[in-house]
Symmetry: C2
Subunit: 112 residues, 2 copies
DNA sequence: ACATCATATCAATATTTTATCATATGTCAA
DNA sequence: TTGACATATGATAAAATATTGATATGATGT
């Protein structure tokens, strides 16, 4: 339970990045190779490779070589429920957080 | 959908911190005031107050004054599904991530 | 083996987040 | 209104993460 907790912190860390989350969402539409992902989310290739590595180590995506290309697929089983649960919270509290792009933005919100 | 996505990044950021997640887990057991939380998770009061503010702004906890004390409660409705979904991933891939405390640890894992 | 395309790695820097401490604010009770 | 307790705030140093571009590796088909 305690170790599960620490693992959860790490899981959320991995998901708390715009590029990584964009990659996941893109792959949920359809499996792709690095360059297709780059086009889809408009990011540089080294950057996307970097993040794919992270996502792969953490079990969020897996890969399979097809000739020259390496096709990445998301691990729908565990990703989908996490994202949907977050969506639910976002739907209700998204407006409350509007304008927060960084954690430090919260300091600027004086009212509670 | 796009704004939901950005909000999700933020949601995961908030949850990707040991202290904040510990606060949430503690409050899921029972509502508490700041000092009780401090004891439970063994952290300093200013630190916990800081994080409670963050959690409150983001809709993860809400508070109610009871005399001198302010009692904090978690927003079980949306938190529980998120944590459970993460637990599921942790159960399967936790071992793969074992030893990762920081994202930079991933760089040390050379094998894929 | 060579040329080419696809992907990964490295390292330096910029940005963001965490951690800490001193201090302020607020509430109650005498 | 004073004292005691409870909680919040602000500034800042330290640490972690994101970003970037140059370069390296790897696989394929010829």
């Amino acid at each position: 339970m305690q170790s599960e907790n620490n693992t959860n912190v790490f899981i959320f860390k991995v998901l708390s990045n715009e590029v990584r989350l964009a990659i996941i969402e893109a792959l949920l539409k359809k499996p792709m190779n690095v360059n297709e992902i780059c086009e889809e989310i408009n990011e540089e290739q080294p950057r996307v490779s970097h993040e794919l590595r992270c996502l792969a180590v953490c079990g969020f995506v897996y890969s399979e070589r097809e000739g020259k290309r390496i096709i990445y697929e998301p691990n729908k089983d565990t990703i989908t429920p996490i994202i949907e649960a977050a969506n639910k919270h976002a739907r209700i509290f998204g407006s409350k957080m509007r304008g927060c792009e960084m954690l430090s933005d919260i300091r600027k919100m004086t009212s509670r």
